[in-house]
């Protein structure tokens, strides 16, 4: 299964080029849910990529853990959520040597947050690879209250912090790892457009 194909968008919207094996080099691999498939495909193309890899997988209800574990990574760790593995991920970034590649796979929310974390830790952008798999739910920042709403699949949606109804922009902040949500009925309070599913 290839990575998700997104429709053309604006320049701030991230593109996920897909994972390309860098051979038996030090690697941190972080994936959630269907992102496991991207790591399995990566290892099938180049089994050596697992030799020095530290894999962190967030199953999110998927059954892919056993296949991923069987790839023989140097370290394999399963975590119930991104928040639960964040300190472990930070430690791996802090311990990383020059030449380490970060492979990210799965949802945009995971890829976005992990990319922001890695850049803040000083990893060069060129050392970060990503492949989108699975849900196209978005991680949205409310421009009004600044709260982040995870897993947004509709436009408009309700901010989980302040309760305003927000429309989903394609404008994206890598620093925040989030898209921007803006009040949809700001000019005409209470007049809301029909709710639609977000498309890729």
């Amino acid at each position: 299964m290839p990575g998700t194909e997104f429709s053309p968008s604006i320049a701030s919207r991230p593109v996920y080029a897909g994972l390309v094996a860098q051979g038996a080099m030090p690697a941190i691999m972080l994936a959630d849910a269907e992102g496991a498939g991207a790591l399995i495909d990566l290892a099938a193309r180049d089994p050596a990529v697992m030799e020095r890899a530290h894999v962190i997988f967030i199953p999110a209800g998927t059954p892919h853990g056993a296949r991923l574990r069987a790839l023989g990574a140097r370290i394999y760790h399963e975590s119930p959520s991104y928040a639960a593995c964040l300190e472990r991920f930070r430690k791996a970034l802090a311990d990383a040597h020059m030449g380490t590649t970060l492979y990210l796979a799965g949802t945009e929310g995971l890829i976005g947050q992990a990319t922001a974390e890695a850049l803040a830790a000083g990893l060069p952008a060129g050392a970060i690879q990503s492949e989108h798999r699975g849900s196209i739910a978005r991680r949205m920042q409310c421009v009004h209250c600044k709260g982040i709403t995870e897993g947004v699949t509709t436009d408009p949606f309700t901010c989980s912090h302040c309760g305003l109804t927000l429309f989903v922009r394609d404008h994206y902040s890598r620093r925040l790892g989030a898209f921007q949500g803006v009040c949809v009925d700001a000019e005409t309070p209470g007049v809301l457009p029909p709710v639609q599913e977000i498309r890729p």
């Binding site: 320049a11 922009r169 994206y172 620093r175």
Partner: protein
């Protein structure tokens, strides 16, 4: 002191007003009867006496009131002023640029005395006197960029240059045309312009960036940008859109002349010596349509520009919903006579 400063507000009761002299010196942004994006960058040369281009940083009758409005906005939302850790030196560069320019250009209003790194700054309109040590952030009440931009009209972004791009890594943004510093900080030139329609396809941003990457010290450049704002509100931020948005729908045929403003940004760009960063002040001027049409050339021309503007641009600039009212009002001041070239009034 020769300059008089208006006692006025940019919110709530909106007592903002332009004197006849301020109307005449308004930087009208259209040099012809139609508009499309272009790389409209020119040297920031000194202009005619009295014009907004006379000095490097224009100080006008709205100075004190604008700084008061900035203070209110910052109290509500301190995230309007942010500087990533590597940008402090650029902040000092900008503080120096503004203090030196203002002290030289407006000696009755501002004084700067320097004895090595011991500086003494006097800002008479705001009643500020400060002794500090240049490049020592502990000697100022706040960071250098925040300190000087609390005393300088316009929004200000400081752009770091690396990897063949410009990065918006610091800014003071309280009078913006609907963009968020908190969201955009850390973005490169293409990313923060991403929402602008059409201009990417025209190659405008690629050419503008190429030009700006080679900007030289002592050779600042400028351009004018514009939009339309209902009520003389400086803080048209996305953060507060749900608060000011309803005002956009209060326009009627009876009040459009008084409530609808042409909002013009005088954007200047300056290469700075220590940090190699680019300072990007975005100075906002507001003019009510009923004042604008007192200059016949401007009334005629604005009518033609807004009438013929592509829908996408009216939508992006946020006045599509009010365009019919605005164009209808302005049509009364367009007698179809030809207009002269350039932005300045005829007489």
């Amino acid at each position: 002191m020769t300059m008089r400063f208006n006692d006025e507000t940019f919110r709530d009761d909106y007592t903002f007003h332009n004197s006849p002299a301020a109307i005449r010196r308004f930087p009208f942004p259209f040099d012809q009867d139609s508009y499309m994006y272009s790389v409209n960058i020119e040297p920031h040369r000194r202009g005619a006496a009295g014009s907004v281009f006379q000095h490097r940083f224009d100080v006008d009758e709205h100075y004190v009131a604008e700084m008061r409005d900035r203070e209110i906005t910052l109290r509500d939302d301190p995230l309007r002023c942010q500087s990533l850790p590597h940008m402090e030196l650029a902040g000092w560069d900008f503080l120096e640029l503004v203090m030196v320019s203002k002290a030289e250009d407006y000696p009755e209003l501002f004084e700067l005395h320097r004895d090595g790194d011991r500086w003494h700054w006097i800002n008479r309109p705001l009643g500020i006197e400060q002794r500090f040590i240049f490049l020592d952030a502990t000697s100022l009440p706040c960071g250098p960029m925040e300190y000087i931009t609390r005393q300088t009209q316009g929004d200000h972004a400081l752009l770091d240059q690396r990897e063949g791009n410009l990065w918006m890594d610091a800014g003071m943004v309280t009078s913006q045309a609907d963009w968020s510093l908190d969201f955009d900080i850390g973005m490169n030139f293409f990313e923060w312009h991403a929402p602008v329609p059409k201009a990417h396809e025209l190659g405008v941003f690629q050419r503008a960036l190429k030009f700006l990457l080679s900007l030289q010290q002592g050779a600042p450049v400028r351009r004018l940008n514009w939009t339309m704002t209902v009520n003389p509100r400086l803080d048209t931020s996305p953060e507060n859109y749900h608060k000011w948005g309803p005002e956009k729908r209060t326009l009627t045929a009876g009040n459009v002349g008084a409530k609808q403003y042409l909002r013009v940004e005088l954007q200047t760009l300056w290469r700075m010596p220590r940090s190699n960063a680019v300072a990007f002040p975005i100075r906002c001027y507001l003019l009510a349509l009923e004042d604008l049409v007192t200059v016949p050339k401007w009334g005629r021309r604005l009518h033609r520009v807004l009438r013929d503007l592509p829908d996408e641009l009216a939508e992006y600039k946020g006045f599509a919903v009010n365009r019919p009212l605005i164009v209808d009002y302005l049509s009364r001041f367009d007698d179809c006579a030809p207009t002269s070239a350039g932005i300045f009034p005829d007489d």
